[in-house]
């Protein structure tokens, strides 16, 4: 079930790694839209780990898991407390 608090926290994390407007469509690719590049992605993953007190294991370091707000929410649904 979507957690509005989690989503707000996720958007807050995104705003720390990019100055561009966050897309309204949660399914929109953040890479293809130019919001994130290859060097912002590691920063994003680190910021997510810090915000949600999780450790993203190496096996989950797949850019597709962090490609959109919806995918990140799905990942956190499974892994964040």
């Amino acid at each position: 079930m979507p957690d509005p608090t989690r989503r707000d926290r996720l958007l807050g994390v995104l705003k720390t790694v990019t100055t561009q407007p966050i897309p309204a469509d949660d399914d929109k690719s953040l890479f293809e839209s130019g919001l994130l590049d290859s060097f912002a992605l590691p920063d994003l993953v680190s910021a997510i780990e810090q915000e949600f007190s999780i450790k993203v294991p190496d096996r989950d370091l797949n850019p597709r898991k962090f490609d959109s707000i919806a995918r990140m929410e799905a990942y956190l649904e499974d892994h964040a407390r």
């Binding site: 290859s38 060097f39 590691p42 190496d58 850019p63």
Partner: protein, 310 residues
């Protein structure tokens, strides 16, 4: 049996290719290239110089000269290269022949980027049996780039060059204390080249993995030897991209200037870069202390080696 690093050497071709020249060829700006990579220029070998083996031999002579060693006294040479032409024999045989060796074993490590690190670790293990080992990382990445249509995202990154290190069980300037090596073949398609198509690089995956695995490997080898990150004098990393080096420094919690960097002048010279960095660093009268070598590259292969000045 302990192993020691005696000296480093390097060679880069004379031909400088500036960002302005690359920008004109790939339809980007010089500022864009520097922004995404920290690179301002790179060296490309011209046809007359040719070949991975020629670059390797020049670096070998530089290293041997600085060590006061004779090629004929070597017990083994290891040549790492991801850009040597496919087929057999690999460049190690030609390097050995050019060094005047007619019976010394010569081993190829066909591994880009992390190849010289893997070669150093193998050398440390094998020197007790074979005698002095010359490790060389040599790359002609310009041939890789020019083998097909130029991709702006990769063509601007790479340069040519070679680095070398002399490893021996005889006491030398730095003692090798420990090393960790890792490979994960599930990402083998993320960064690949086979001469039948342009170099393929999934930059998102490569940078994400490298930015995590490099600091993890460094912390792993330091923890094994109970050495604090803050107590390392210098980190000599594969010079892939200045933005990556900065992220590694941040992850390790160290000042950026603790990571030696020459990527602005040479670009990413793949397996040669870490030893070129070591050569320049060692020739600048470096302070005593712990030294960390680390690399990550296609495969993925990665690791770290810890040494200490004697």
């Amino acid at each position: 049996m302990p192993a020691f690093l005696h000296a480093f050497g390097m060679h880069v071709p004379a031909g400088v290719v500036t960002n302005e020249e690359m920008a004109a060829r790939v339809g980007r700006t010089a500022e864009w290239i520097e922004g995404v990579s920290g690179i301002r220029e790179r060296r490309w070998a011209v046809a007359a110089e040719t070949g991975v083996a020629d670059l390797a031999v020049a670096a070998a002579h530089d290293c041997l000269g600085r060590a006061g060693a004779n090629a004929l006294a070597l017990g083994l040479i290891i040549v790492a290269s991801g850009s040597a032409r496919p087929g057999f024999p690999g460049p190690a045989a030609e390097v050995a022949a050019q060094l005047g060796l007619d019976s010394t074993p010569a081993l190829d490590v066909p591994m880009a980027s992390a190849g010289s690190l893997f070669g150093m670790v193998m050398a440390a293990e094998m020197a007790g049996h074979f005698g002095d080992v010359l490790v060389i990382g040599a790359e002609q990445m310009s041939a890789v780039i020019e083998s097909g249509p130029l991709d702006p995202n990769t063509a601007v990154l790479f340069g040519d060059g070679a680095g070398a290190a002399l490893v021996s069980v005889r006491p030398g300037r730095w003692e090798i204390l420990d090393a960790v090596l890792h490979s994960d073949g599930q990402y083998r398609d993320a960064l690949a080249f086979d001469w039948s198509a342009p170099l393929r690089m999934n930059g998102l995956s490569v940078i994400l993995q490298a930015s995590r695995k490099l600091p993890a490997a460094i912390e792993e080898v330091l923890a094994r030897q109970k050495v604090a990150t803050q107590d390392v004098t210098v980190f000599l990393l594969h010079q892939a991209n200045q933005n990556l080096l900065l992220r590694v420094a941040k992850a390790l919690g160290i000042p950026a200037d603790r990571l030696f960097s020459n990527v602005a002048r040479y670009g990413n010279t793949s397996s040669a870069s870490m030893l070129i960095a070591a050569a320049e660093w060692s020739q600048a009268s470096p302070p005593a202390g712990h030294v960390v070598f680390s690399a990550f590259g296609a495969g993925f292969h990665w690791g770290a080696l810890l040494a200490r000045s004697t």
